[in-house]
Symmetry: C2
Subunit: 412 residues, 2 copies
Amino acid sequence: MSLVVHKYGGSSVADAEKIKNVARRIVEVKKNGTGVVAVVSAMGDSTDELIELAHSVSDQPHPRELDLLLSTGELVACTLLTMALADLGQEAVSLTGSQAGIHTDTSHGRARIHSVDTARMLKELHEGRIVVVAGFQGISEDEDITTLGRGGSDTTAVALAAVLEAERCEIYTDVDGIYTADPRIVPEARKLSEIGYDEMLELANYGAKMHPRSIELGSVFDVPIYVASSFNETPGTLIHRIDGDADKRVMEDRIKVTGIACTINVAKITVRSVPDQPGVAAALFEPLAQSGISVDTIVQNTSEDRTTDISFTVSGTDLKAALAKVEELTKEIGYGALISEANLAAVSVVGSGMQHTPGYASRMFRVLADGKVNIDMITTSEIRISCIIREDQAQEAVRLLHRGFQLDEPDE
Amino acid sequence: MSLVVHKYGGSSVADAEKIKNVARRIVEVKKNGTGVVAVVSAMGDSTDELIELAHSVSDQPHPRELDLLLSTGELVACTLLTMALADLGQEAVSLTGSQAGIHTDTSHGRARIHSVDTARMLKELHEGRIVVVAGFQGISEDEDITTLGRGGSDTTAVALAAVLEAERCEIYTDVDGIYTADPRIVPEARKLSEIGYDEMLELANYGAKMHPRSIELGSVFDVPIYVASSFNETPGTLIHRIDGDADKRVMEDRIKVTGIACTINVAKITVRSVPDQPGVAAALFEPLAQSGISVDTIVQNTSEDRTTDISFTVSGTDLKAALAKVEELTKEIGYGALISEANLAAVSVVGSGMQHTPGYASRMFRVLADGKVNIDMITTSEIRISCIIREDQAQEAVRLLHRGFQLDEPDE
């Protein structure tokens, strides 16, 4: 029997009616002879409510305890969906992350999946049941409950699809696919019928509503991921391997990129006149990583006088903590000045068609310049060009780039 | 190091402030050099809210799923209390029923504890941590989460006190002990400083706010159970073995009983003219038990014409289901008539001093007769006499009996 893994996000199981709707959708698939493993997130805002509850009793909730607390949100959604399936006459069973055999490391709050013991899931599937798994969680070797971090249910779903060798992993959410840009910003944005893993990874890292780790995992295990709405039947977007097609697209459609991504709430820190010697960057960034502060773009200018300027971006939320940490560190190293700037954004153009093809970067800078958008920093990857700009110009920049790269024009 | 088990009910952990208050009380005990295992119930009404949620997606929630759903309520309270303890600088760890090694049978919704594997709890205690255990739940041999039924956290607490050989089990709740009668009905009711297991079991079965199974367990394993308020320092009631004292009380205090209990929402079913032959009672009550309908008082009248009348009481909530079941059964057996009556109550006088001492029953009937309270059924145990009366007379009957047995007069 063929098998698919479905994943339903918090907004898709936000109340009893929505849960019953999801149950009906799953039963339909099962009736057509396909086995289903459904992974669910916590209902609506319940994870935020639990976090708030934790902060009401403790300033710094212990990560191990927070994980056990947060894991209950997915358990609630998962048992309710199972009950709704049973109510439709469909045999179903809910499994906690631990019961589903999801073993992780011990990094509470951002655990990584080590292995999945599929025995219990396979037993239930063979007995004809729909298996409903609580997303976002696993169990460590210490037998403690761990969580995979925000959006971790996507990762759970793709991991299960990989180990169960499912046909594909279907992510059902409140948007009906991946767009060339956020449709709330660019009304003429078009839905992509397909996208490659690498492009999707760049889009996910730069603002699209998918968990980057799940895309990475899908890419490694070659799991086709289908993103669609849980509220209607509109065709969604298939994320899969399209290496072969990349060159074809370059030939046919030379100046098209796949999509425009945008991240807001970006802050920049610049450390001036850092001694230009080996180990300085490590001394600066290692302690930030240890404090759990995620650093995004890093730019280091070439130096003339044996000193250098290092600029990097962090989330605006982390700016205060990052500045405190850097100040402490730079005192040891010795430096000229520490400059920070908040309220920035990163806009990116993404497309595997950009590989080995000149002209994309200059076109991007021209579009932004014509729109009077000043570029603060630039970074590039093989298939992405990102510019740091002022946050209040971000939406306009996305619209300009969408038009500038002709993403509003239908494919041939 | 000496060890106590604390249990905090839902009202004691109903919000962040109350949880912090509980944390402070526990830390005080720990600072005095006593190890603490704390068992917690779900916050406030959260169990009822989860049940409501289940019924919003399914008319008949599957018991296995309902257990996993309900178990999350205790997990939330348990992790929050642990965070609050950590916030006071006290090392603490929360354990699910499964992590605490509580193994049960597979009867979802009313599982019984088979055994407790103390390894993890002992390890954490030896490392100086306060252990916070989610009450009301365990894990079955199928590795499924089970719950022990309403009030099951009391049972968890006494079971842990038994296996950990704790000095005693302290049940903290929103009342400050066991009273001679419900103080809301009888303002002059007095708090008992101590009570025997058997007497407490009768009181618990007939209306007092304790889980009868926990008393039974305490009696079997000889665990002293102290019931007190979590909101103040007023001395509570110690439930323990006082066999030796029973006779002494009989001598000194001949006509005193220990307390008056009252159960409302009682319904009675009478089956008339049942053939008086072996196996009829079994044929009647086995199917009721299988349908999960708990039958309380059973009275069978002696017969003259080879038929008999059987009367029994059930909870008013179960009346409709019980009647349907009995109707179906009696059609097979053959019977005269089926009569039912709702809105009844059971008032009981309880006291080990009643054993082998005449006069208690007649005194009870006299007190009720003088108060114009009609008695519908009577049942007795060694240390209890119960009368079924009209529900609207129950409060008055409790007050009359409390005065009639001189419970309002202070002990010598």
